[in-house]
Subunit: 167 residues, 3 copies
């Protein structure tokens, strides 16, 4: 079943294509919207009023706070030394590796096509589309590139945009 019974869906969660997602053991906050072809794993926690767009993958160890925008085709990482088997050639089980956590703080936005290593992404920050984020992102920072680097502060951009409109 694409959404298992262990998943806790908040009030008013909206999934336009519930047959085309794979969500198991996750916690999803109120009024969050989740697109098609999304996988959210056991132990992932998504806040309220988030948008999780199509094709995105959110594994165990990822905590997304309220009012966060996660674009299309965003991939989170929770294992920085992934292997299929151990030195004896035995397939690794669910607990045979070290979980690394990621937190995306309130009102942050992650652009489509981004890859997010285990980091903290600050409140109101913006990760540019197609970026690979390898280090923590400060509150309100705009970052972009591979690896993602600081571009500017989003609060300055908004002031500049408002000023331009007025003149």
């Amino acid at each position: 079943m694409p959404i298992d019974e262990a998943t806790k869906l908040g009030r008013g969660v909206w999934l336009p294509q519930p047959e085309l997602v794979n969500i198991y053991g996750a916690i999803i906050g109120d009024e969050t919207r989740i697109g098609a072809f999304v996988e959210i794993q056991r132990g992932a926690r998504i806040g309220a009023l988030c948008k999780i767009q199509s094709h995105t993958f959110i594994p165990e160890g990822v905590i997304i706070e309220d009012e966060v925008f996660i674009g299309h085709n965003v991939t989170f990482i929770n294992d920085i030394w992934p292997v299929a088997t151990n030195e004896q050639g035995i397939l690794l089980g669910a607990h045979d590796w070290e979980l690394r956590e990621t937190r995306v703080k309130r009102k942050a936005s992650i652009g489509s096509g981004a890859t997010i290593l285990p980091v903290t992404i600050g409140q109101g920050a913006l990760v540019g589309a197609g970026s690979v984020v390898t280090r923590d992102v400060a509150d309100y920072a705009i970052v972009a590139g591979n690896p993602a680097r600081f571009i500017s502060d989003i609060r300055e951009r908004r002031i500049a945009a408002a000023t331009t409109r007025e003149t």
Copy 2:
């Protein structure tokens, strides 16, 4: 339903896995092929004789002309300042943001894994696999990288390849 009634499918459109796509309100031209795990949104327009490969996302505001190749896992962007909620903490609706358009001209090819910001991609151009395209691409240009930069003119490459074969 994975393909809604508002979608206009041209003659001879081929979808090998119609149960595994999410297409709504889009216009698809004659004889175009569309792979699995593809999402095409309301207002997107795809020309005739295109190949849209698996895992690709095409939102509103994207116009793809005839005979275009879109690789696997290509992500188009139509919102360069994405947010989940407004300043009052209310989830944004369908019209609370600025749509930015993308046009992919005739016979262009976009490599798999590319991310395309709102730009124009010229006729016969080639976007390398895994690129992040942040600026317009000239007709017949080959671009690659993050951000994508001009590599060469595809017409010169074809002449070089033909010459090599003859000698």
Copy 3:
């Protein structure tokens, strides 16, 4: 049907979401695990004891040896000059282009979000998340970036990690 009859599944292959994959004409080795939203094409060969994570695309011409880890949202390329139609404007068929092969050797790991051009990836090598691999990767090499470049030898990292733990 998401897994066609021409596919040869080894003993103990595990697909937690068989309704949400698209696998046709492929060969899958014993005890390999395959996630949701994965497409594996005719002619692709996957070894035993591999992990193929969600959203990954494996086309014809890709050979994956035993005990390989393929992360989420990994895209392999088998056509470096993709086009939709020929010069006469006719849609290309299955054999109208040059297949380029990729081999991923035993115990290699490919990070999530990576794009792999037609290359050989060496035994025990590690491709960093979000990388675009354009050249062969040596045995036990760690590579990362777009284009991916050599970072270090994974055997040295493991010795360093072991030493740190002991002191």
